[in-house]
Symmetry: C2
Subunit: 381 residues, 2 copies
């Protein structure tokens, strides 16, 4: 059976070159990077090489990169490491749960949080950011690109507003690091993850601008310049480095290729009646499609696509266990019923035109069949 | 050149069987475990299988195991997730830095901390624990075995005291999980790590007794029963599971084998004049030796052993970058000068008698040569 993977925003397969780079660090070069002997120093050097590459992807200095266990940890480091009770922070209503749920936890500890609304097209308005700043505002956290609908937020402008107001700026760049260019000039903190980038799971990094600091989330040994304790995950870090290197090398080419497939997919699916695209077509991630279908549930589409060998998602994998409608889709104004009818297909470098054609061949039939048995559709007759 | 690895308390090589179990989860079974389609469900099942094995090692229920990025994160979860400002916690003066430095951070946030002294032999006294408990005591954190000198703490008795006093009990079992039996009856939280156990780095777990809870350290997605957000590190978790399975199977045999090598090493090294053993010989980890030598520095021994192909340590790898003497050795009463002269050699399942004989052949010469050029020795003449 065909296996077509269209959920690259959830996770990606580790690239062959990445796995090859990691492999020696499991059973041969297994030294603890904090150890003094050769086996330890060897691991340390590999880690520092990866740090330099990770920094280069965003034009940072190696010392500004802190390796973490992934995007969620990086987000938590910033949100839990900066504001104190009484401080004010600003975020948006459609951030990733690693930001949103952490903000909710902070509220219980006395931090004031403003959740900015977003436009129907899926963007944070810079005027809203400006207006929300008070004298107690310590931190603003706005994602670079939304993980469900792929809209790219105006972080350059938001960063400028933060700089002018003396407020720290964090961006969750899990969906964009290594995929589209990022200018860190006015960014103080940036979260990235390995497994969205053909790297391994369980590794990520936090960019922290030189001169800025935070209270560490995990204390103990003096690893990562005392910002993140725990024996360095050398294999994971080397994998992150290799994935970053490949991403940097292929960035423009992959983005152009995926954009072509994306537009082909969107244009053709929108021929299905009572369907729509969630999020703007402009300023959208090259690999993201998020389509809505009236009368049916996204979950049923996913399961029928799975039977046909196609892996897709209704939204974020992080919330797939819950039955509440996507907070991203309700934030852009969809009713809960409409929000339940969404299908996210996110492309990757190895997807082919043939695969997209196969998907376009089976999807209309699935939608049609589900609508035939849909109580919502029947009720409307 | 020979390469003899005697630093198993710092980290271990990933066992062949562990690597083989992990391998498919990088580039084939790479699904996000929270995804609904087959590729995701496959990862989820493998994670749940590993959770069941990890639980079995300590006689726990699968739902009591939370996977984390390692021992330091597990320690931080408990210490930062339980006490509030005004609460009192009790720990010992020679805990791992992941506990000790975190307690110091908590003090700045208004948590009262008692650091219990330890005996010259390297043990926490249960009477001291009992006496330190006040009406505000919320948590007691005492490690199972010390990572530098290998002394096994009376956690069964301490657990009983905690239970009788209604105080929560945490133990850092990074050096003992899968290596010696653990009775969790009166333990509420237990930290374990994969890479001390022939598993990969960047993965560990926290045992949390059913009915007990804490404020999560990393919030976001609903992974790990909402106790630890972030896409599951499936390859790492599967590696942890396989390493746990092998450890459980070979526990008694490996412990007996390592004890024999350990005693051979200790007995022979102690023939060198002005040398001593740090920590009791009784209730000591099967694989731990920690020897002291007057007039010379441990670091110089390490580097000379490295030249001969032998990897050993002065103490904890986590503090090897710092020049302050080991807090463990000063806690058992050594002067800073004596504490600087220590050599930790920790054995593993693959070490052989021949390797130990080789070490015993070169070590006395290294000590003798270093003493010849030692200013401390010269000063004494």
């Amino acid at each position: 059976m065909k296996r077509i993977y269209l959920d690259h925003a959830a996770t990606t397969a580790v690239a062959k070159e990445v796995f090859q780079a990691m492999q020696p660090f499991f059973s041969e070069k297994y030294g603890n990077a904090s150890s003094l002997y050769s086996l330890g120093r060897e691991a340390k050097e590999a880690i520092e090489d990866s740090r330099a590459i990770a920094a280069k992807v965003i034009g940072a200095e190696p010392r500004e990169i802190i390796f973490t266990s992934g995007g969620s940890e990086s987000d938590n480091m910033v949100l839990r490491g900066i504001p104190e009770a009484g401080d004010h922070i600003i975020t948006s209503a459609f951030e990733h749960h690693a930001v949103l749920h952490t903000c909710q936890a902070l509220e219980k500890e006395g931090v004031k949080v403003t959740y900015l609304p977003v436009t129907k097209d899926g963007f944070v308005r810079t005027e809203d950011v400006k207006k929300a700043i008070t004298k107690n505002t310590k931190l603003i956290s706005i994602m670079h690109a939304n993980n469900e609908i792929g809209t790219i937020q105006p972080i350059a402008e938001i960063g400028k507003i933060c700089r002018e107001s003396g407020v720290l700026f964090h961006t969750d760049a899990v969906q964009t690091y290594g995929k589209i260019p990022i200018d860190i000039k006015n960014i103080d903190f940036l979260s990235a993850s390995g497994h969205k980038l053909y790297g391994p799971k369980g590794i990520g990094c936090l960019y922290m601008k030189s001169g800025v600091s935070l209270k560490p989330l995990i204390t103990g040994g003096s690893q990562e310049h005392k910002m993140r304790a725990g024996t360095e995950n050398a294999a994971g870090i080397v994998g992150f480095g290799k994935a970053s290197e490949l991403a940097m090398k292929n960035m423009g080419k992959e983005a152009a290729y995926e954009t072509k497939l994306r537009d082909m997919l969107i244009d053709d699916v929108l021929r299905i009646e009572d369907s729509w695209l969630n999020g703007s077509r402009k300023n959208r991630l090259p690999n993201n499609t998020n389509l809505g279908f009236d009368y049916i549930e996204g979950e049923s589409i996913i399961l029928h696509l799975d039977i046909k060998g196609i892996a897709a998602s209704t939204g974020s994998a992080c919330s797939s266990e819950s039955l509440t409608p996507s907070h991203v889709l309700t934030a852009i104004g969809l009713s809960p019923v409409k929000a339940h009818g969404s299908l996210r297909m996110t492309l990757g470098k190895d997807n082919t035109k043939e695969e997209i054609n196969y998907v376009l061949g089976v999807l209309p039939g699935i939608v049609e069949n589900l609508r035939k048995i849909s109580p919502m559709k029947l009720a409307r007759r």
